[in-house]
Point group: C2
């Protein structure tokens, strides 16, 4: 932890208390999703928040992303957030059985860049209302990618 | 660690021995990048590997992504990899001072989905030769996004 301590505050949440489900738990057995006539590995959203608040709180960010992940039907394996300096940006990730959610924030610009990648039957769009509630962005830009698309 | 232990093997590497540089260390002070007449927060590559090997080794994946991150000029803060079962998929992330690298693998399909997001002067494309060397993919598909693009 020495290197991390030199760089700022770190929060770590292995989320031990969560109920573990087996849905989409093992990518090796998850095969690919088939939806609307196409086969792919998972849905990946790139989400940019502009004019957003509360981007300097690793605790709020951790709670928000984990709440969103659960609402999307995902299983949390691990989360890690780094607070660069007090009142400054936060970088971190929630590792899911169904892939991950990441966030990087620039509080002085009111900007946050997230990505939400989920395989299986999880719905990554269900994370977005939690982002709106926590960070009150003036605008939300979403790009959708189907990863591992087989045609 | 109980929940994690139930789900499979976890590797954790806070990378204590790495030399810490101050380049692009704090998003709050990093402002945005200006390049080719446009201003943006960072470059985000979505990389799909097909026909790839060695996708079931968290140790190799951890080493490959960390080597790639350093070659790209990034500073590693934390890495975490989850091996769902022996010989099966790996999910994980390297959290960087300049954002992150993530990977999710489907060894039975020879498929891996990565994303490499780096702010500042780091070059995310420098990660790709390390992926080719470690996983010998038959094909590599790369999508590039400028995140936080201000026009």
């Amino acid at each position: 932890m020495n290197a991390l301590a030199r760089l700022g505050m770190v929060s770590e949440s292995p989320s031990e208390n969560q109920t573990i489900t087996t849905a989409c738990l093992e990518p090796a057995k998850d095969y690919f999703v088939e939806r609307d006539g196409v086969r792919f590995a998972g849905m990946h959203l790139l989400i940019d928040l502009w004019g957003a608040s509360n981007l300097d709180s690793p605790e709020l960010i951790d709670r928000t992303l984990c709440d969103g992940a659960l609402a999307a039907g995902a299983t949390i394996l691990h989360s890690h957030f780094h607070h660069f300096t007090p009142n400054a940006g936060v970088s971190g990730v929630v590792v899911l059985a169904e892939s991950h959610i990441s966030i990087h924030t620039w509080p002085e610009s009111g900007f946050a860049a997230l990505d939400v990648f989920m395989c299986g039957s999880c719905d990554p769009y269900k994370v977005i209302p939690f982002l709106k509630a926590a960070f009150a962005p003036a605008s939300v830009q979403v790009g959708e990618q189907k990863r591992g698309l087989v045609v």
